[in-house]
Amino acid sequence: MNAVFFGILTILSLFIFMNLGKIKASKKQMDRDDRINWGSKRRSNVQQNREGSKIIEGSAEEVDDSAQK
């Protein structure tokens, strides 16, 4: 009886995990301001790279060979 009860509980739980796990969490869970920011380290690295990079903004111009002559 013990094995049957816990065996069914195991199979049922795995079935729930396999199906429920693939469904997106509710809006109540996802649309919150106080969510954990898991990518904070990664994002700060990206920001650091952006700040450290030398990007010169400007518009591209075509060089006309005949004008130089």
């Binding site: 013990n2 094995a3 009860f5 816990f6 065996g7 509980l9 195991t10 049922l12 739980s13 795995l14 729930i16 995990f17 396999m18 429920l20 796990g21 693939k22 469904i23 997106k24 969490a25 509710s26 109540k28 869970q29 996802m30 919150r32 106080d34 969510r35 954990i36 920011n37 898991w38 990518g39 075509e62």
Partner: protein
């Protein structure tokens, strides 16, 4: 519009190798992203490997110690080396850890028959119920929640480490292994913390899929879920043994 027709035809670089690579990069960014389906499927693969390892450990209990040591080393490699390698280390971790769990369960079963299936049932029962609580928004993990669980987990790890070191000198922290009320209360607390770590794993996977992290993070998410499940199973087994020994 450029007066050079080659630029209009091939873009700024006419090199077909560059053009092909850019197309590939775009395809890569769209398809090689972490998804919930992928993470759940990879967790199922790791669970299957763990059950396979447990079957081996159950039949050959001598595999318990090497399985535990190799599994521990693989866990450290996966966590501290690179999450990108999780696809190659996590399956071996699951198999070796399964061997250790199979061996441990055999010894527990010898003392208390039927305890193994109880611990497995409760572990997966907690997994399913907490997944439902997380998905429905009943439990909302926040930064404070993460800080609290992380501190408690580190505290427990430190306590176990001190107890392990003290055991070499013939001493130990008695209450954490006792079957008295304090010992059982401690085990209940540890089971609770291990279970709440599952919520953090769910949130990590959900957040990763939402932000479209690289595909290999599916393996890392499945691995972190697996580590928590192994810990939860061991703590539930320990709690049940304490309760049965009274």
């Amino acid at each position: 519009m450029s007066k050079h027709s080659a630029l209009n035809t091939f873009g700024r670089s006419g090199n077909p190798a560059f053009t092909r690579n850019f197309e590939n990069a775009e395809t890569f960014s769209q398809t090689e992203r972490m998804t919930l389906d992928g993470a759940v499927n990879k967790t199922a693969i790791l669970l299957a490997l763990c059950f396979g390892g447990a079957f081996a450990g159950w039949n050959v209990p001598a595999l318990m110690v090497p399985g535990a040591i190799i599994g521990f080393v693989l866990a450290l490699v996966t966590i501290f080396r690179s999450p990108a390698k999780a696809g190659s280390t996590a399956p071996f971790y699951a198999a070796f850890q399964g061997m250790a769990l199979g061996g441990i369960t055999v010894f527990a079963e010898m003392q208390y028959p039927g305890i193994g299936i109880q611990a497995i049932g409760l572990t997966f029962g907690i997994l399913a119920s907490l997944l439902f609580c997380y998905k429905s928004g009943i439990i909302k993990p926040t930064e404070n929640f993460r800080l609290m669980i992380f501190s408690a987990t580190m505290g427990i790890a430190l306590l176990y480490l001190v107890s392990f070191i003290m055991s070499f000198f013939g001493s130990g922290i008695g209450f954490i292994h006792s079957n008295g009320l304090f010992g059982i209360g401690f085990s209940v607390f540890v089971v609770g913390i291990a279970a709440l770590n599952l919520v953090l794993d769910f949130d990590f996977i959900e957040d990763g899929a939402d932000k479209g992290l690289p595909k290999y993070m599916e393996w890392y998410g499945a691995f972190s879920l697996m580590v928590t499940l192994v810990w939860l199973y061991l703590e539930i087994l320990r709690l049940l043994m304490k309760l049965r020994s009274r």
